[in-house]
Structure formats: structure tokens, C-alpha cells
Subunit: 296 residues, 3 copies
């Protein structure tokens, strides 16, 4: 019995549901690395319905599905599809839900994944809907923390753009289940909105303080578009950049949802603190756990 | 033994061939829904050679192939391929026929599928060649009728653009095998050409008459480009639009090759009359029957 | 035990390595034609990382992988990927090497495949890096020669653009292992560079002489861009064009890396001399041999 039919928002999951998925992910670690070859989804078909590109997420889902012996069908470019001929989202979802056993949807409009789940004949997984949710990213972030340092008694620092980052907002909501202590490290203009600070223990601090005191730094990109001019952007972004010199004498682990541009210097990559590539990899076993949950 | 090596035109099939495919489709219905997992095409490769995009058709063939345990290779965008470097269709077909066990071709030029079948080392299935044929669409239309109402003694109304619609023309030719009574419902400017009325029983009628008397309404889109001005188009298209109010007290079944824009109102979707999504789904088992016919 | 972990340049392979791959290719011939279905790479995933399109090469690798029961994940269009957001090649390779068991990379920058192999967690195969190497093309050329006429005592004529053709330069290097006699047939402006004539027996000759004396003509395209004006190009290209009349009374075999435009007339295709379509097909078993070498 599946705990959920669709996965639309991390908010739909109880603490118990989340722990169930994280535990299940452990079981798929070896298979995600290709060392075991369970074929539990053999003959099943995943339909990737990406209305905006997100190559990384799509490839990660494909890898997860294929590691379990399943098959994948991609919508391909939207310009070439019936969508371009004026077909409604509901019609597209209804038709493609006849082509497979599960739909992964990415759409630029908030709420579209939930809408898709209401008309689909098969389970729908949200792979990001505009400013909305991207629950598998949150689950892989949680899994990474649990695996690398543990979720109990966690002290995590969120660094960078805390105002607009969807990833950060979803992670915060999920972390409240685990009573984490959350340090906030951001420029004045990109502070975490008040309404997101309701449940949980939050404290603003400097980057130096976070490096010394947190178990994990979760770094996000500060985007140029958020600033009135390039000079201002450079100055601000530069002071939130992580370098090897800054962290090499600390035990703090560094996470990043990737892709990074220059918010983490390349000299950090070879330090034991750097776990962002492992974090990206954990997306595969987490998605294996989710795919098997909704399809079996 | 296969009844045919290539599938280029519905006209190449005898009534017996058509009935053979429709009967075979029944055997794949459960598998198309993922409830059975025959792996009769395991290790076989289908090459999708789409010189113009047709996402729906491509995905349906992919689903059919993968439901049978087979694999698919896509040409991808033509701009990126050797075709863009000036390679002839014959060369492209010869080379890719070395990559798989069957080619599905879609091309903007009439006759190109037949030409491809002459140079290919493997079976070729036509997935639409310009103003020419699209035989798997016709077969799925026939299967839908047979499954939902039966082909014997059929009274079908064709609604909309009967002048230019390739889908309608092919369906008419195929229906003559089954001695169907065909009602024609179209604007003056989009009437069925005389040369297509040679074999069979045809009668022009109003939409109201068709709703009351036909077993099936086969609706097609009336395209703006067919009219001299937008006002004229709106007026005409509006009077061939199907709404719930119009059909809810009738037993008439409504088919459409999809995608629809607004020729069928959304309020029709939830009525038992609406079978167009089922029709789209039947494309999968029909193509499973065809793929197994040419490859086994 | 694999003889090599990565395949970056034909120069990295000893004569013994090359012969090992060519011999192994024989074992996969039947499977490449779909007559046998070994599933030795079942559960394995190949990641195609094509930073510039090369549909033919990508499809050939896909066919090879799928003929062995393996799966393929494609990066898809680069414009849509993280690369477009400014991600470094190293980061992209590190992340996608977590999605599969082998990477095939095509990149516009020379040296990028070797660089990728240094940061990847899994084997990397070079499918062409700018003006650099494309070793699987060279191996399929060698296999074709070995299969169709034999490598021992070979007399081969290279025809066309010998100055810029990467394919020709790599083939020459590989042929020195086999002490082939090499005839050079090119316009003055496109002669083979001196530094490539160091090891081996070379002689310039006319096309007529080559047809009469060589075992194989390896024809390449003469590109318009190499000439100051169109008239000059036409005149030169025309005199290196192969026609049926020219070769039908000879035993010489004709190879071409494809796609061709008009450097080989279509009337050659049906002659027994024409082996270029078989050559393209041999790309599949050669790549099966290479994929199984690096992954098993």
C-alpha cells in the first residue's frame, strides 16, 4: 500500500511519511550506484512532462526509473507539441496519462501540478511548478542531511538568497518537523520573509559565525536580477561567497542545490566539507524511493 | 508470418488485414494499460524518424514499443541532424535502418514514407506524410468505433472540415469496407470533395439531424486559415461546435483525433458520450498490434 | 579486466588494444543486426553528453547500448541545460556521472573529453572534441577495412580534403600500426600536412591511379568554405567526385564517413564497390565492443 498516490507538495507529507521515504532511500543506495539491479519497475513507463526545461531534474528521474528496470518517455520540446497548437493542460495530461504509469510534471505556473493530479489517470509527481513546490528537491536535501550528519539536533545555516529561493522555503517547512535550529545568513535585501519564521528556532548571524557553529551550510545563489545595479550585486554577492580558506579548518558541511556559478569557489570541491555533488547524486535514490512508492 | 512488411497506406490493407489488426488489438488492451507485461519485443529497437514534430504520435508509438519490452531511438530535432547538412532522405533511411528493427517515419512530403520503405533494410511504418496517409490514425479510429459501438450497420457523422482533413478522408476509405452509412456535416466551403463520394452511402445533413440519428459524431477542427476573414471564421466555426446541452440527451458517441481547441466544449468531457480520450488511448494497443505484426 | 577505463584518443591504444577491439567486434555482429540478444549490459545506463549535435553518432551509441540490453539517458539540448546557466564542464560531468555507468561526450572544444575523464566517476568515451579526436570513428573505419578487405598489406587511397579532415588524420595514425601503403588524392590546397607524413609510406597520385591500384578509396567531403570563391570550389570538387562509370570496372572498395552530399554519385550505391552504408552500420558493433570493454 502506498502512503500517497501523488506527490505535489512537501506540505502534504507528515513527518512519518517523510521518514518513511528517507528510510526507503537507504534501501536503494546500492542500486542507484549500479551495484545492485532490482528490476521492480520493469515494464512500467514514466512520462516526463516538462513544460519548461530542467535537464538536471529530468535526467535524475530518468536515472532513478531506469535503475529500477523501468522505461521513460519524454514530452520533448513544448514548442513542437500539441500545447503549441492551443491544447489545454488538462487535455495534455489526460492523453499522456494513457501512455504510462506515472507522470512527472514540471510547469512554469504555480498550482499546475496539483491541477494535473486531479485529471490524470495515473500518479503525478511535481518536479517544480513555478514559484510553487519542488518536493523531491526537499526530500533529497533532507536525505543528504540525515545521511551525512543526522537530522536530530541539527543546526543548519541557510546562506544567500533567503527571500526568493523556493528551495530554501520548502526546506525550512520540512525542517520544522525535525526541530532544527536555523541560522539565517543573507544580505539585508534578501532576508527570509517574516511569515516563514513562525514555527521553529531562527537566528540571523554572520557567515563567520555560521561556519564556526553550524553543522551544515546550505548555500544558494544570489541572482544579479535582485539588485538595482551590477556594482551593488558584485559587492554583496562577493561577501557571501564560500572559499576553501574560510571553511577548511571547520567541520561544517557545505550543501548547494546546483548548478552553482561562483557562490562556492572551486577550491572548496576537494575538501571533505564539500558534499554538494553527493547531494546531487542522492537525488537518484530518493526518486527511486518515490517512484516505487507511487507505482507499486 | 506477417501479413505486411511495411505499413504505408490504409489502402494497402484488405478488409481482412484490417480486421486482423483490430482483433489483435484486443489482445494487447490489458498490456497497454500496464496490467500485463508481455516482453515479446524485448531486445528489439524502434527508430523514430520524425522530420516534422508530432509529439502525440511519437509518444504513442514509444509507449506501444515499451509496453512490449522493446526500445526506442529518436532522431530528435532535424535541425541538428545530417539532414541539415544536405543528406538525402534515402541516405538517412539507409543509415538509420542499420540502428534498429523498424522505422516509424513522419515527413512533410507526400510519398516519402513509401519511398523510405523502398530503401530501408527494415519495416517502415508511416506516421503521416504531408497531405498523404497516416494509417495508424485510421486504424485507431476504426478500433474505437468497433470497440465502443461496433462496425456493423454503423451510421457515422463526419463533422467540420471535410474538405482538407486527411484524417477524415482516410477514415472514409476504410469505412467503405464496412458499408457504413456516412452523414456529412460541414460548412459549404469545406464540403467533402466529389471524388471521395464514389463508394459508399453519403448524405449531407445538419448537426442536429446527425446528433439525433448517428451512432458516432467524428468531429474535426475547422481551421482559421481556411477563411478569408476572422469574422466569417468565427461565425462558421461556432455553428459546428459541440456542447453538452446539444448531446446530453442523445446516445451519440463523440470522437475527435485531438488535439481539440474549442470545437468540443469542455462541458462535454464528463458526459458518457465523450470517448475521445479513450480513442487517443486506443492508439497504444493498435500500435502494439502493428509493431508486433511487422517485427515478429 | 578492461584494457582501458576511458577512450579518449586513438593514440592511447596500442596495436594490440586495437586488434582486441576489432576481434571483439566480430562477436557482436549478429547482435548488432538483432539476430542475437545478449543482455550483458542490462541495468547499466549510458549518459549521452552531447554539447554539440551529432545525431548519427548519438544514435549509433544508443543502438549499441540498447542492443546489449542497456539504457540511455540523453542530455538533450544544451540551451535548455544548466550549462546555459553558466555551469562549468567539470560540474556538469561530476553531476551526470552520478546518473549512469558511462559517459559518451561530444564537445566543440579540443581536449574537453580528456578533461571530463579526469573529473568523472565513471568511464568516459570521446565522441568527438572539436578539432581533436573521434576514436570510435577511427575504430569503425579500421573494422570496415579489416572485415571487407583485410588490414594486412593494405593499399588505401585517401581522397578529398586531406588537410582539415580530422577523420583522415586519425585514420592515418592508426594505419601506421598496420604498415599500410597510403595514396594521397587531393587538390593542391588541401594536401596532407607534412607533419602527418612521418611514419608510413605515402605517395601522392591521381584519382585514376588510385582507382586502378588501391584496395580502398576513403572519400571525404571537400567543403565550400575552404575556397575563395564558388567557381573555384565547383571546379575542384567536381574533379574529385566518384561516379559509377569511374569505378564499375575496378575492384576498389569505396568508404565514406557519411553524410555525403555529392562527392559520391548516387549511381555508385548499387555497385558492389560501395561499402559506405555497411561502414556506417559497423559503428554499432564496434561501439558495442567498446561499451562492454569499459563497463564490464
Amino acid at each position: 500500500m502506498s502512503r500517497f498516490r501523488h506527490l505535489i507538495s512537501i506540505d502534504d507529507l507528515s513527518k512519518d511519511d517523510i521518514e518513511h521515504i528517507l528510510k526507503k532511500t537507504d534501501d536503494f543506495l546500492e542500486a542507484a550506484m549500479g551495484r545492485e539491479r532490482p528490476r521492480i519497475l520493469e515494464g512500467r513507463i514514466l512520462v516526463n512532462l516538462f513544460f519548461e526545461p530542467s535537464t538536471r531534474t529530468r535526467m535524475s528521474f530518468e536515472s532513478a526509473m531506469k535503475r529500477l528496470g523501468g522505461e521513460v518517455i519524454n514530452l520533448g520540446s513544448v514548442e513542437a507539441s500539441s500545447v503549441a497548437k492551443g491544447e489545454s493542460l488538462a487535455d495534455t495530461v489526460r492523453v499522456v496519462s494513457g501512455y504510462g504509469d506515472c507522470i512527472v510534471i514540471r510547469h512554469y505556473r504555480e498550482g499546475s501540478a496539483r491541477f494535473a493530479s486531479m485529471v490524470s489517470e495515473v500518479p503525478v509527481i511535481n518536479a517544480g511548478d513555478g514559484a510553487g513546490q519542488h518536493p523531491t528537491q526537499t526530500l533529497l536535501d533532507l536525505y543528504t542531511i540525515r545521511k551525512e550528519v543526522g537530522l536530530r539536533g541539527l543546526k543548519i545555516a541557510l546562506v544567500g538568497d533567503l527571500k526568493y529561493s523556493r528551495t530554501v522555503h520548502s526546506l525550512i517547512k520540512a525542517l520544522t518537523h525535525f526541530k532544527a535550529e536555523i541560522l539565517l545568513v543573507s544580505p539585508e535585501a534578501l532576508r527570509l520573509p517574516e511569515e516563514l519564521r513562525e514555527n521553529g528556532r531562527f537566528a540571523e548571524c554572520s557567515l563567520d559565525y555560521a561556519v564556526e557553529n553550524a553543522d551544515v551550510l546550505y548555500v544558494t545563489r544570489i541572482q544579479k536580477e535582485r539588485f538595482p545595479d551590477e556594482d551593488e550585486y558584485r559587492k554583496v554577492a562577493g561577501s557571501y561567497r564560500i572559499t576553501a580558506r574560510m571553511v577548511r579548518d571547520s567541520d561544517v558541511l557545505i550543501m548547494h542545490p546546483l548548478p552553482r556559478v561562483d557562490e562556492i569557489a572551486y577550491d572548496v570541491d576537494s575538501l571533505p566539507n564539500a558534499i554538494y555533488f553527493r547531494q546531487a547524486f542522492y537525488g537518484v535514490p530518493v526518486r527511486m524511493a518515490i517512484l516505487s512508492e507511487v507505482m507499486l
